[in-house]
Symmetry: C2
Subunit: 195 residues, 2 copies
């Protein structure tokens, strides 16, 4: 608790909301709870976020940036790798992060899955961020492509079973990683041998 009324930033509200969500769950956390913990009036919160939904979106965006985009950016910038191997490592990192948080940070993952269904703009931005980085890797690599960003998006779509939260229930399967590698090999080599 603390008196933030003078200097309260969006960031502080988001950090506090995330704490409240972990403690009480998404359904039971209200804007009033967040205001109470921050020792401000709920009007102060509403000045920054117009509704509980907007607050949840803010937390999800922050969570995606920190937990998914930040480590992915490190992989994207890693110049020790190149070509298909770099792209595969990038995608594998995306998949491993999603599977990890689906297991280990269930409350936040469930919220992210819910927001995916509802906050089209936020998810559009998130997917663009990832496919842009994939496109960068393709451009720098020896993968021949006239349209790197289109190829990036196509690979993203073809692997969606392994990173889209709607498929989280399939990630518990012991063969899921082997199935990703099968898809990856097919994307790399194609199934038509007579070219």
């Amino acid at each position: 608790m603390g008196d933030f009324s003078g200097i309260l930033t969006k960031e502080q509200i988001l950090v506090t909301t995330e704490e409240a969500l972990r403690r009480f769950g998404v359904a039971k956390t209200s804007v009033i709870d967040v205001a109470r913990i921050l020792n401000v009036s709920h009007g102060t919160i509403y000045r920054h976020f117009k509704s509980k939904n907007e607050l949840l979106e803010g937390v999800t965006e922050k969570w995606l940036d920190e937990k998914i985009i930040k480590p992915l950016t490190a992989v994207c910038k890693d110049t020790s790798m190149e070509g298909p191997q770099h792209l595969q490592t990038y995608l594998r990192t995306l998949i491993e992060l999603k599977h990890h948080y689906a297991r280990e940070d269930e409350e936040m993952f469930k919220m992210y899955a819910k927001v995916t269904d509802e906050a089209a703009d936020l998810i559009y931005k998130h997917v663009n961020h990832i496919t842009d980085q994939m496109g960068e890797i393709i451009t720098r690599s020896r993968i021949k492509s006239e349209e790197p960003s289109r190829l990036a998006r196509t690979i993203f779509y073809a692997t969606i079973r392994f990173h889209h939260p709607a498929h989280a229930y399939e990630w518990k399967s012991p063969t899921i990683y082997k199935e990703f590698l099968d898809v990856w090999t097919l994307l790399e080599k194609g199934f038509i041998s007579e070219k």
Copy 2:
């Protein structure tokens, strides 16, 4: 309405349940409603289906068999096609059927999407049916594969965005079919040109 008490079959219960679901919606249809329409006691229904859920699964299985598997079987058996073209037509038919029913038979599609989340056995059987037929087409075709059923399953997974009901909200996009063709071309040819 009619007195079916003597000769009531599972099939008749399922047909009546489907009618009731269309009329009242999934949430508002009870086993008692179905019994009332059939003019039997609800005990008679419970003799065939142990719960409302089992009844819904029965209707979904019937719906999938009639609306999806039946036309797909016709494509699978069509000897006028062969090779990748046959496989693509099969998959395109699967996708077009799913998109069609998501638009035109919303109540039943929503139920099928719900059952997909919950009735693992039913969906496992449905997916096996489809990947078995894809495997058959691969075996008969000039597609070289040492494990046709594994290749079939891998292609099924790589195209899941276009036929899994969790992605139905993405099917409204005007570019969805073009995106499927991009994925298909990638699966056929692969992205590595130097082989």
